[in-house]
Symmetry: C2
Subunit: 342 residues, 2 copies
Amino acid sequence: MGTHKVTIEDVATLAGVGIATVSRAINNTDGISPKTKEKVLAAVEELGFIPNSFAQNLKFRQTKQIALAVPDIRNAFIPEIAYSVEQVAKHYGYRVVQINTLGNIRSELELLRDIKKLHVDGLIILPLAYPKTLKDLINKASLPISIINYGKTLDNDVKADIVSLSTPEGKLVMEHLISIGRTRIGYAGAPKEIIEERFFAYEDALDQIDRSLVYFGDDFSLQTGAKAADYFVNLTHMPDAIYAGNDMVAVGLLNRFKELGIRVPEDIAIVGVDNNLLCTITTPKISSVSIMGTEVAKVATELLLERIEEQKKGVFERVQFEPRLIVRESSLSRTRSTQHIE
Amino acid sequence: MGTHKVTIEDVATLAGVGIATVSRAINNTDGISPKTKEKVLAAVEELGFIPNSFAQNLKFRQTKQIALAVPDIRNAFIPEIAYSVEQVAKHYGYRVVQINTLGNIRSELELLRDIKKLHVDGLIILPLAYPKTLKDLINKASLPISIINYGKTLDNDVKADIVSLSTPEGKLVMEHLISIGRTRIGYAGAPKEIIEERFFAYEDALDQIDRSLVYFGDDFSLQTGAKAADYFVNLTHMPDAIYAGNDMVAVGLLNRFKELGIRVPEDIAIVGVDNNLLCTITTPKISSVSIMGTEVAKVATELLLERIEEQKKGVFERVQFEPRLIVRESSLSRTRSTQHIE
DNA sequence: AATTAATTCGGAAACGTTTCCATGACTATT
DNA sequence: AATAGTCATGGAAACGTTTCCGAATTAATT
């Protein structure tokens, strides 16, 4: 337990040496004889001395730690990102501390505001939305930042590396649904402010939109999917396909539809976005667009760590990944299946 | 961007005051006139001064941050814990930094070894296993620790609060499977070292165990479940029920069985542990034991924060939560169903 | 108007390290 | 044996804050 009052000076006294020597011993620095080193380490052990890292870092500056700020841990899309970030960071010898902002934009801003308290060398952030404040805070921040851009368009003058998905993820979905002959296509997801490109793709793909086929829930969750299913079922004229804003919603939809006796894909086709692991364990398996989370996270982390290590200023990178549609059972054509099924 | 070389002294010079006054201004301390305060804050703004928090904490000691160390973020059981911890911490005004040890015992030990580098006031750890080193490190650690004890028995002299699940979670599963008339019950999960109680319950419930009905994979993952299914299917004498070490494994089993044309629960019943969200979105829905993650996490966090705030020494709490079996479709009795289905 | 009390402020010590620099002891070279 | 060169070591400065304490200014009391 030791209330940790023991300082380097206590060790020095016990070992009968100067504090400089103690420092050399515990840091494996050159210029100390093996025997004094041993003597010092014995004293360290005896007193249970632990260097105060605040004092250490006061000179050192580097902490070899980076922060990863993610919105909602309950969305299974996040672990994929987190895992990938950990891998790369470990390879560079960095530790990752993950901050869960819980889908709360306020706490995202708060985090940026006192990012210094985290004692990290850099930050990877996956913002929910991009209010002007966020941009200002990023630009004012005094440490390297990588942004994983999840669906939103960013101003070009943000002083951070940005790795993003190009927006056609929704376009892919819509083109696919149209190509398999669906004509009444609905949308279900969070309000469009959250990831607006997702919904814009829906609007863009249709000549005219029927507002009754659009369901906005509170978030991208299973519950939203279930509520959306209830909503669609009560329409006099049901859709024959639904573009789900993400896979959680898709799963929620599918599940509720099954409970209600509606067949997928025969009655309604469903396609989600994220290519979440969940898509492969439902029955039927759900078609989805992979947003390449692993790759995106990898690049974002590499950019950040290179910026940290090389102390790069300016010249911020912009990288885009193309999404990839993976067709599964939930969106098979009713007549014949010419698509490749995974 | 500012390379953050600007110090409190620069601000003092610009504002034409002493550094003590600057400190008072930025910390809202008493003993400063409104107008000097305003003047100082203007200087702070102009220079973009950000206090060096290493220097601050050198005196202050408290960081109002706690760490949460979790094994495998890809296991959907974790988010439940994390979410609950965040809620409580926020209520107390603390930030949570999450450390993912990726199922690696080495990195768990490493974390404890240099926990100081994280600059947190306390730690909540969900250990994978309990080698002696871990206990030693915990006892030597110089900050409050709460352990969320996930299946393993702990020595009583660990100097930390411990919130654990009482072990009968596996017993519940076995008694249930036996009660619905299954006679050849198998086990699938990670090697018994990982969470040994899970497997011991299996052994205890049976008069004699048939080693061929036990499958140990690498971990508690979907893949392990799938591989286990392949294994069981190839037995000359298949089991009629499987106790899955956790829900990920259960889902993996179910999915692969379905691909192989084996009916659940008619041919094989499956029961998992964790009561993961996944259990309700598969077809059939999977019976599982809730380990009360939310409640456990809540108590663990409260104990930790109280210990921090009140600077309690000694008197370590031991809290146990009882698991709860939730019967769903994957373990219905073949003859009639008398159980309550959720 | 004179004394006392209350504010406001700056200097300097303290927090616990790392590291530069000077010193002294020891080894190697001639 | 004398000089040069290594090596080990401790003292002290530096890192950037907060805070104690005394001084100086202002306000309040008589």
